[in-house]
């Protein structure tokens, strides 16, 4: 998917109000206010960042992969993509991206699906769903509130005829994606711990999250 347009950001890290490194394999969550910008940096390259959004004042409204793809008419999250909720509203927009096309059709890894994909010997390995459950339960949510997510920096081309597979990521060290929130959103991240496919180059690494205040009018 080399035709994906690279859109760099004008923002300076020194102006960010939050600058946090998320260790390899770990979860993180934070409320991003309307107008604020969230940047996720793939520090070492080829690191999938499983991400969910919930409306901050009504968690029943949450990111919907299908609504996002329906409104966009195409299969990948790129610069310009509007991230749509299950109630059809724009939660955030991708305003900058240097990391290639991002997946939103292949969901998060779990201990359970890992057994089906890779064999029962991998059942007791850490997985994104473990991270998501640990993180969303802090807010009174449960497993049933975890819908299919966005996988930033995860490369899943869907071929004519439907074949799809996670292939080597296109993101290089330092590549990033930036979103501007269009409502107050709870952002929940699992820095993917998967070691059985190329989504993390078979070696999970840290990422960085930055937030900037809304631009003054």
């Amino acid at each position: 998917m080399s035709q994906i347009i690279c859109v760099p950001s004008p923002r300076d890290a020194a102006d960010a109000i939050l600058d946090f490194e998320i260790p390899a394999k770990k979860p993180w969550s934070h409320v991003v206010r309307k107008g604020q910008t969230l940047r996720i940096v793939d520090l070492h390259g080829q690191q999938a960042v499983d991400t969910l959004f919930y409306r901050a004042d009504d968690f029943n409204e949450r990111y919907s992969a299908q609504d996002t793809l329906r409104e966009q008419g195409s299969a990948y999250v790129v610069a310009g993509t509007a991230l749509i909720s299950n109630e059809g509203r724009v939660m955030a927009r991708v305003v900058a991206n240097t990391g290639g096309a991002h997946d939103t059709s292949a969901g998060a890894c779990s201990c359970e699906s890992n057994t089906v994909r890779f064999g029962h010997h991998v059942k007791y390995q850490h997985a994104c769903r473990e991270n998501f459950v640990m993180e969303v339960t802090k807010y009174g949510l449960s497993k049933r509130d975890i819908p299919p997510n966005i996988n930033f920096f995860m490369n899943v081309p869907v071929e004519l005829g439907g074949n799809l597979a996670i292939v080597d990521g296109e993101s290089k060290p330092g590549d990033y994606v930036e979103l501007v929130a269009e409502m107050d959103i709870l952002c929940v991240i699992s820095n993917c711990p998967q070691i059985n496919n190329p989504c993390n180059g078979f070696h999970p690494t840290p990422i960085r999250a930055l937030i900037w205040e809304a631009a003054k009018a």
């Binding site: 299908q66 195409s74 299950n86 057994t115 299919p148 597979a165």
Partner: protein, 271 residues
């Protein structure tokens, strides 16, 4: 990033394993996918029928299926599209997961021989018969706003239908997983854009979904959002619930290494 020799060796082993799984999963191992069902290829014996229902265009169905029962979705008119969700009847926190279904099976093309998985690495439905082979797992159904934009008015839509169906099963809008839609020929082009292929819709198409757990099921019969017809004119969806023995060489249970493991998980949980 510096990797030790030990880390490099582990990465090489895991990469080789993955490439092997991918080649098998997108190949024909252990069995090639079956041919689509012929229109007269799977008559339901009268004695096997448990119940029948016809869902008018624009409406919805809600109900239960027992493990081993099959639900046939039929479109005599060729103008129905069926957006479906389901939950484990005994633990509704387990529900269909379209993302796991396409990822695990290495394909977004749900069709005869494939399965629909839950979020718990278990099988919800086996797609045991299918005359169409043209179904959508990625885009989901219509919404009030999408219909208003497309048809210029207030038309029944899948999002609201599924909220209503879930409500009548005792579930809330937050319980709704994202659906898969049968009789919705959505292809993808080389640039990743979704393309509707009307030629793949036909009168008298049907698909048989065998419940692999006791289930709660909700189905919406509304035009797919990419259906290019300018008028809102969905046809009726005919549902037939029936029970037949599972054949010894059942394809869905044995067609791929992934399906075999998913059935191992399912059978173990229900043993």
């Amino acid at each position: 990033m510096q990797l030790t020799d030990e880390q490099k060796a582990e990465i090489a082993v895991n990469r080789a394993n993955y490439e092997k799984l991918k080649a098998a999963g997108q190949g024909a191992a252990p069995r090639a996918l079956p041919e689509l069902t012929k229109k007269d290829g799977a008559p339901i014996p009268d004695g096997a029928v448990v119940a029948r229902e016809t869902v008018p265009g624009g409406w919805y169905h809600y109900g239960r299926l027992a493990r081993g029962e099959t639900l046939r979705l039929s479109t005599a008119s060729g103008r129905a599209s069926a957006s479906l969700v389901a939950w484990n009847a005994h633990d509704v926190s387990e529900r269909i997961n379209h993302a796991d279904s396409v990822k695990v099976q290495w394909s977004a093309a749900l069709r005869k021989g494939r399965v629909i998985l839950s979020d718990m690495g278990k099988v919800v439905f086996s797609i045991v018969e299918d005359t169409s082979g043209a179904h959508d797992a990625l885009v989901g159904g219509s919404t009030a706003a999408a219909n208003a934009k497309k048809y210029g008015g207030d038309f029944r839509n899948t999002r609201d239908n599924l909220i209503l169906a879930a409500g009548k099963l005792g579930l809330s809008r937050a319980d709704l997983p994202l659906p898969v839609t049968f009789f919705a020929p959505l292809d993808i082009d080389g640039a990743g854009r979704f393309v509707w292929n009307e030629a793949k819709r036909a009168q008298d198409d049907f698909v048989d979904l065998r419940a692999e757990q006791d289930l709660l099921v909700a189905i919406s019969n509304c035009p797919h959002p990419f259906d290019p017809a300018p008028d809102y004119a969905p046809g009726p969806l005919e549902l037939t619930r029936f029970r037949l023995p599972v054949p010894a060489d059942d394809f869905c249970r044995s067609g791929s290494a992934e399906n075999i493991r998913a059935f191992q998980n399912t059978d173990a949980a229900l043993a």
